[in-house]
Symmetry: C2
Subunit: 255 residues, 2 copies
DNA sequence: TCCTGTGAAGATATTCACAGCC
DNA sequence: GGCTGTGAATATCTTCACAGGA
């Protein structure tokens, strides 16, 4: 399995940290909003606030892309939108297939943000023959039997799995065999894929469990200074809680 | 905002790293599967494979919880399930409300994994009067007007936002004001919350964009050794791609 | 003067490698 | 001998703090 990796000799210096890549979409969204309001330039401070990160981090992130700002001024919104889009590969169109058109699959198919930025739902696939031909979000559902053909005909390299957990690995294997090299997995299972295939997962119950952990922690500490919290529970405009993290995900709490 | 942080004096040593917390649900799921198959014990190696992480990481993670294994043997499955559940706060029931019962909200309400582990859908809330009273997943949808009452009557501290982006912040503010201190946000917006409130987000388009980035990178490198890839695109059982990142979320695979 | 770009420091996270117990 | 638990080494990420250009 994936060992070290001295990484390719070519391209060189193409080393954008993963953590930075994960934030680029956030910046892009904030910038797009500014662009729609015809804001011409933005400072790292302002943009960072809009994206919910701290400004030093944002500047460092951008520094991996190049020197796109102007000292004393800030960043040109349109220019940055373009640069980030290009970096993320959104200047081309990515055909995507969604496999598993249940409640969730249908919700994903209907999700507008899909088409908005570089992605296009090329096909919906489900194992239920009853669904075949029925349109969901204006796209007719096709049967799993044709999965390989669909992938190839459309040149799909990104697949979304929204099947029940039990079917996910099998669907994944077929997608990969047919040429898909990036998978977004909504099924609550760990997928095994060959090297070179990327998998990202979205998992509701994992997220809830992480929240529960922190929630429990808060409850435990409440014992210290209980007063405030109780009073709040009524209907203040914005109250609750004592302090806490502000960082990335959740986290910790100060003194 | 929020500066340094010398952290609380009390509780002490309750310092489970965030990265570890994020993996506990993964281990728990793998352990639950083993438990259902009545497997009595498991080694760090086996469990790590099932959870898709490396064994040293898993052992280190468990070491933060305590010494729950037996040298030369492994971990007792049932015991670990209990310990992790307790650590995550899943031994108690968390009532959850879902706000925004569109396609996605309905999908979430129908999601089985919800109830399975410590979470209970206490109420569904939507701003559309047409929906009020209609049952979704067997639960009648209630109107947003009653949000505060619902939160309080049910002692809800975890809220799920599945509204359109435009409504999310407003809903969030009301949830927080009513006493919710953990929010899972599916709307594609950055939410602003007071200190002490945890927010986690799930964002389809961000995930897709991250995949697109890596996908693009693969395409670029293909130029080097093109041969193999092309041949594969047909229908090999498991092929495609050269290497690529295997970092964070993506899966990796055993040899 | 304002704000970017970035070395250097600090904090977290991962991995190695082995001592210690069964 | 097998496998856990964990210091120590490494890698990655974040934050500070300030030099330097507009």
């Amino acid at each position: 399995m994936a060992t070290g990796r001295t990484h390719r000799p070519a391209t060189r210096s193409r080393g954008i940290p993963e953590a930075t890549v994960a934030r680029l979409p956030l910046y892009l969204r904030a910038l797009t909003a500014l662009s729609e309001r015809s804001v011409p330039t933005v400072s790292s401070e302002e943009l960072a606030a809009a994206a919910g990160v701290n400004s030093a981090k944002l500047r460092k992130d951008f520094s991996y892309l190049g020197s796109y700002g102007t000292r004393g001024v800030g960043y040109d919104v349109e220019y940055l939108v373009y640069q980030i889009s290009r970096e993320l590969g959104l200047t081309q169109d990515w055909p995507v297939v969604i496999v598993g058109i249940g409640n969730l699959g249908a919700a994903l198919a209907n999700y507008g943000g899909f088409a908005s930025r570089g992605f296009r739902v090329a096909a919906l696939i489900d194992a239920d023959p009853q669904l075949a031909g029925k349109p969901v979000a204006g796209i007719p559902v096709q049967h799993t039997d044709d999965l390989e053909r669909i992938i190839q005909d459309n040149g799909v390299s990104i697949g979304v799995i929204a099947t029940p957990a039990g079917a996910a690995q099998q669907v994944c294997d077929r997608l990969v065999a047919a040429g898909v090299t990036s998978i977004l997995n909504f099924a609550p299972t760990v997928l095994t894929v060959p090297d070179g295939v990327d998998v990202r997962k979205v998992d509701l119950s994992i997220e809830l469990q992480i929240l529960a952990f922190h929630e429990q922690r808060k409850a435990g500490e409440e014992s210290a200074a209980t007063a405030a919290a109780a009073a709040v529970t009524a209907s203040g405009t914005e109250a609750a809680a004592d302090q806490g993290p502000d960082g990335d995900v959740p986290a910790v709490m100060p003194a």
